[in-house]
């Protein structure tokens, strides 16, 4: 079973999916500070804290590779209580459910793309990340990191927005900011996405868990056109010359559904990861 669902899901709500449990989308708007309490340099910003934690561990790649591998192993074993934020890939169908329930939903600039490709996103025509919840009301506090402000979207608008990025080939990742608190649906792209990169290149699992789904191909419908091969960011799909069809390695598949939404002949469907005995513990 998915360990995040085990810890934060409600079996009565949406099949126990943790990110569709309204409790993980809820937070107070205000906090009374004690008079002697001083704000930390980054405030009580779990994202900044997580960035510093990751930075510290990543340094060991150069100074002490054995220690680096050990720390990654330990961090993965600690799951949600470790130094990394929890993130999980979700297909667009589940992203729809998230933006229908959560409020507010807003488009905003992607912090990873600013850092890793100097890709500035300064207005709603350029924004590429989706923020959720009361944090969006205070987003403009750190204009440096988020280019100030966000663009609020009604649920239908938010769905169109998700479709736009899905068509372009972005993977949707549900991201937490402190414990199980869901703060966004990122639209992600390797290699500039920190979460996908940390998982694929360095084996840090927590921030980019595989989705509850896995892609399955119908060979009768597949024409071997190769669209899905282009859309997969996880190296799970290749064109198989012998069969003249596309081959999906379900062990490598992250269940993002980009191949499914891109397939011109509807030859790919997403099936429940936990219905396959060989995959139900692969997250």
């Amino acid at each position: 079973m998915c360990w995040v669902c085990e810890a934060y899901g409600d079996p009565e709500v949406e099949n126990g999916r943790w990110y569709l449990n309204p409790k993980n989308h809820s937070r107070n708007m205000y906090k009374i500070k004690k008079p002697d309490q001083k704000a930390a340099a980054y405030g009580s910003d779990p994202e900044a804290q997580s960035g510093r934690n990751i930075g510290e561990i990543m340094q060991f790649r150069f100074t002490d590779p054995d220690k680096f591998n050990q720390l990654i192993k330990e961090a993965n074993a600690m799951k949600g209580s470790g130094p990394f934020q929890i993130g999980q890939v979700i297909p667009i169908q589940e992203a729809y459910k998230v933006v229908e329930m959560s409020y507010p939903v807003a488009s905003m600039s992607c912090i990873c793309r600013i850092h890793n490709r100097a890709q500035e996103e300064r207005n709603e025509h350029e924004y590429s990340c989706t923020g959720l919840g009361v944090g969006m009301l205070k987003w403009e506090r750190w204009p440096e990191r988020y280019k100030g402000g966000v663009n609020f979207m009604a649920p239908d608008e938010a769905k169109e927005w998700l479709v736009k990025w899905n068509k372009k080939g972005m993977v949707h990742i549900i991201m937490t900011f402190g414990g199980s608190y869901v703060g966004g649906v990122c639209n992600c792209d390797y290699p500039d996405c920190g979460m996908i990169r940390n998982r694929v290149d360095y084996g840090i699992e927590t921030g980019c868990l595989k989705s509850h789904w896995v892609a399955k191909i119908d060979y009768d419908l597949c024409t071997g056109c190769g669209v899905c091969v282009q859309r997969c960011q996880f190296g799970a799909i290749k064109f198989e010359v012998t069969l003249d069809k596309t081959n999906i390695d379900q062990l490598k598949c992250f269940g993002c559904g980009l191949c499914e939404t891109g397939c011109p002949t509807n030859a790919i469907e997403l099936i429940d990861r936990e219905s396959l005995p060989g995959l139900r513990e692969v997250w």
Partner: protein, 78 residues
């Protein structure tokens, strides 16, 4: 890097050209409610946190107008 780059966010050539995306640009000091002026010297700093993925293609060195990038691979062992 020999001399630290002073204009990473203005120039961003290396950041966008690197096939391995080894670079990262970040503001040195983040202030609440205030955006860093990219024209202020030294406001942003360039790092190469993913330099373990560097293949030595030298594209960044050729593009860099500041001659701020050097790549050091250990010599082949005899």
């Amino acid at each position: 890097m020999t001399a630290p780059c002073t204009v990473p966010f203005d120039c961003k050539k290396c950041l966008q050209a690197c096939p391995q995306a080894v670079f990262l640009v970040t503001a040195v000091k983040v202030e609440r409610g205030k955006e860093t002026d990219p024209k202020e010297p030294g406001a942003y700093r360039l790092f190469a946190p993913h330099r373990d993925k560097c293949t030595g293609c030298n594209d960044c060195i050729e593009l860099c107008p500041e001659d701020a990038i050097t790549i050091n691979f250990p010599p082949l062992e005899a």
